[in-house]
Symmetry: C2
Subunit: 352 residues, 2 copies
């Protein structure tokens, strides 16, 4: 063995969804938005003074944090932004989950929670969802070093009502509770309204889904000014300048365009409801989705077979080779045309 | 005390150089480039298809890594890119400094090395520079968990010759040795030529200084394919998509424009040499700089006094309130006009 190997951290990384480069693919595998970002983002980026890129970006991310604070009726000191919600969540894990007790999260959820806990050596315990893939608040009323769950959950798409979230918050006054709302804009009510009441609550959102800006990598945390300060201190200890100037400009323009945001989200929700009905009529079984994807299983055709056949056809969906969900597919809601192509192909497989 | 405080990581963050927002400032405090990025960057960004920002960026950063590999005659598997060299360095600390022995770095160097070691709980030992602020290779020929130094060093601007770097590499076959070349393009020879010979060498560079892209946050690591793989695995365990699409496009365009790069670097070097002579004639004492800044002291006027007076005048330079260097100023090389304004003001203070 090479001498320096003893100093190397070896990890099993998260495998992101495939990003096929060949053209003509219908890409329903990474929950991207089928519509472009707001035209105001285009305008703001075209008007960006590229010569000023010689300067460092604003490390306080003021224009973006101000725009978000204004949109959500918060104070800028309650907002923290980073390079996608992955960056924000990783910083949160590092900042808020630094205790001895295990951090709790569902056994079926965003796979990165476990990856971060592993790489940052945070003790954790996976709490099984019930047989309907639901979170039971009583499972989180035990000693812990922190709680995190996604709402709507991924990849199930199921929403937790505010009453249940309140139960989890009430049972965890001595822990930080993180609600990861990556998909909240597609359905359900945000826990942002609890911020004034619970100083141990952190709400995470992203520009990658509802705001069509996955390519710009922008995520946000909302919390009490005290928690945001701890988070900012850790950020300044890793990389003072995370969001680049283009991302700050694009993010601020997007956050200010509520009308376009509501229109595109509305379109996706309408497509989701229409596609849900069609898939059910084909025999697929799934809970109602509050996200921009469906998490479906079919009683007759194994998910892996559907996955492979769809891929062959150039339609990419997501299949997770992991316990309890290895007979499910996660299908992102694309445009109506894309979803019609998917349904036509599935009809061919199932009805013929 | 609030119950959740026990789970909070509290750190003393790095303080970045001031980013004054009022106009008319001569900003010589953060080693930014006074010239805009390549016109090819402007063109590439203007041509960027903003509608495609709905998609995640390429997690492999291929266009950027390919452009760098081509420019430096390396294979793409030897290149890793991230959100500024701070992001790349933080990932390197996490990946390569995971042993029990202390990591070694100079007592006077980029302050972030100590900040990362602290926040990531890596054992470390600061090795004093000699009385001329030089690195002595024999000081690094001791058991350690890794070695990192900046070349040219910051904030001294002094370069280590390749022979001394080879001595350090030869003495550390069982450790990873990181050479942080943030300023290498302004003078001195890169350790990139050693990559084929030393599989434990990592060379770090940045687009923030010589390439005028501080605002886009792009940094790179060059190493053996094996080390790059470990680094990439850790990146994929934190944030699969770090560099956004705009940064990938801007970085690739910049890396391909060698002519513009050489022109602007040449201008800065000429300004540095002219300003060095003028400052010496005013009594300032300093070693020759191989970077885009000067690290100066004056036998008669305390640095802090000069710092305050310059700031009052709207000329921002960097002053470090820390042992051994608290009578020095770090002055970034700006345009000729900016440097003339600085010199005129200093002449007024010193000669009158």
């Amino acid at each position: 063995m090479k001498g320096w190997m003893k100093n190397i951290r070896q990890v099993t990384p998260y495998t992101p969804g495939e990003q096929p480069k060949r053209p003509g693919i219908i890409k329903l595998n990474t929950n991207e938005n089928p519509y472009p970002p707001s035209p105001k983002v285009d305008k703001a980026l075209k008007e960006m003074d590229v010569s000023m890129l010689r300067r460092y970006p604003d490390p306080t991310c003021q224009i973006l944090n101000d725009a978000l604070a204004h949109e959500y009726h918060l104070r800028p000191e309650q907002v923290f932004t980073g390079v996608g919600s992955d960056d924000v969540l990783a910083m949160c894990f590092m900042t808020f989950f630094d205790g001895e007790q295990p951090v709790l999260f569902p056994d079926i959820t965003y796979n990165f929670y476990e990856v971060w806990a592993e790489v940052l050596r945070i003790p954790y315990r996976k709490v099984p969802l019930d047989e309907h893939f639901c979170i039971q608040s009583r499972d989180y009323a035990v000693p812990n070093g922190g709680v995190i769950f996604a709402n709507p959950n991924a990849p199930t798409g199921q929403i937790l009502d505010l009453g249940t979230i309140r139960e989890i918050l009430d049972a965890n006054r001595d822990s930080i509770v993180i609600v990861d709302e990556a998909y909240i804009d597609f359905g359900g009510e945000s826990a942002l309204r609890f911020l004034d009441e619970y100083e141990n609550l952190v709400v995470i959102q992203t520009f990658s889904k509802s705001r069509s800006l996955a390519g710009m990598r922008i995520g946000a945390a909302f919390a009490s000014p005290e928690l945001i300060r701890y988070l900012t201190d850790v950020k300044y200890s890793i990389n003072s300048y995370t969001l680049n100037t283009a991302a700050l400009i694009a993010g601020a323009a997007s956050a200010r365009d509520r009308k376009y945001f509501q229109e595109t989200v509305g379109k996706i929700v309408r497509t989701r409801e229409r596609v849900s009905a069609r898939l059910r009529s084909l025999g697929f079984i799934f809970a109602d989705s509050s996200a921009n994807f469906l998490f479906v299983t079919h009683p007759e055709i194994p998910a892996v077979k559907l996955f492979e056949a769809l891929k062959e056809e150039g339609i990419y969906v997501r299949y997770f080779r992991q316990p309890r969900i290895d007979n499910y597919l996660r299908i992102t809601i694309g445009t109506d045309e894309e979803m019609d192509a998917l349904i036509r192909f599935l009809e061919g497989m199932i009805l013929l």
